[in-house]
Symmetry: C2
Subunit: 286 residues, 2 copies
Amino acid sequence: MGPHFRQATIIGVGLIGASLAGFMKSKGMVDSVVGVGRSKDNLEVALKAGYIDRYTHDQRKGVAGSDLVVLCCPVGLFESVARDIKPYLDDRAIVTDVGSVKGSLVGKLDEIFYLKARFVGAHPIAGGEKSGAEAARLDLFQGARCIITPTRKTDLEALDAISDIWEATGARVERMDPDDHDKVFALVSHLPHVAAYAMVDALADMDGGQKAINYAAGGFKDFTRIAASHPDMWRDICLLNGPNILKALDSYQESLWKLRDLIDKGDGENLAAVFDRARTIRKKIG
Amino acid sequence: MGPHFRQATIIGVGLIGASLAGFMKSKGMVDSVVGVGRSKDNLEVALKAGYIDRYTHDQRKGVAGSDLVVLCCPVGLFESVARDIKPYLDDRAIVTDVGSVKGSLVGKLDEIFYLKARFVGAHPIAGGEKSGAEAARLDLFQGARCIITPTRKTDLEALDAISDIWEATGARVERMDPDDHDKVFALVSHLPHVAAYAMVDALADMDGGQKAINYAAGGFKDFTRIAASHPDMWRDICLLNGPNILKALDSYQESLWKLRDLIDKGDGENLAAVFDRARTIRKKIG
């Protein structure tokens, strides 16, 4: 028998929040779901689809009586939302999140909820460029990875419950230290997104760039698909994981300079060697 | 009635060459196809699949008696192959290519074949990371763009014939000046590939990079898919279109520096603005 909750509050009923809520309801893991958000249109979509049972724009009212609260709003709001809802939470309510940044944010949330509610950090690696409840899918997390970031303060029962929810969705649950999480995802997620945004930005400003974009099937399209992701989410990630992203960016710039130099010198042999090693590594990922 | 050839020689029976040959044979546009290449295994695959009727490792023997010759080997070999086969070509044979670089290479080939054969430069924007005759598809060019780069020296009858072939494959044929072609594709194809290679290269060298690659579903995978492309092909492109690629790289580095600076300063407003503009542009491509 899996975890069961009386009432779950989803703060930010976007792609991830709506999909999680919809999944939990479909499996009877929760009796009732309250959606909290700013866009009435989006909340209506979630309500009509049955992902939530009711909604409110007032997060304090939204969390009252819930034994589970999931922070699915932009990570930049987590701290303020946490401070704001804390007095209105049921004692020992489980609070979790789906944010792309962990690091010191987890410790802050541990502190804010200390002795009141039980916080467990989580990050499901799913979704993509689409956003909003209309894009939600109950199988969104099937086969995806979900990173959970317990700390020494994390309540073990809450940790198990959250792990069980994610495993039930079909995700492969993995535990990571919050700081390791941010180092790793700076490399494999945050840096590529910044690089994709920079690529589109550069083209937009180059002579003939806008015209060239018409011929985008040749590599540019693939490369920049992730630049269609939500700007606010990525702003928050850059602000909250800045130091790790800067380190990754510096490494990337070094590699670009190395290649620039080889191209400038016409060093075909070393160019082919770099490309060949990269291809070997990339092919392992599949 | 479309173009028709007695015998076509495909020099380099890779993904593009094999697909084109297979298509032309399937439509009766050519009576017989000779494949020329170095890998016996690959040529055998093409033979068994019916893309070619016979093969040879000797390019001089391969072009004898052909009224159409298609250069599908790495662009870095075009000049030497052209000089080598010239004396063995039938007078007024049509020679064309499928290379990713045009620019001054087209003028060189015009010169080499002058008064002997009729050269027409072409570049079908198709294929991707897969290579070899085994990946060939007769519908590979359906809906793809094919750029043709005539010069003042280009024979008009040959130009029509080559355009007709590509249109028959379902490609949208477009004419471009060879130098414009190289400027445009430096931006939308060559730069993104170099950037993807640099991303994989950087990760491979970073502390924890190789371990992080295990979590590659979060953006890195999309961004670097094109790094699985053929190293030799990309070495040649970098060598032959160096100046344009360097210009594009410099623009790209500028954008990366701009973003680095905004991240360093924690300037959320301008970060969101850059990301938002990029998303708008990228969404137009679809």
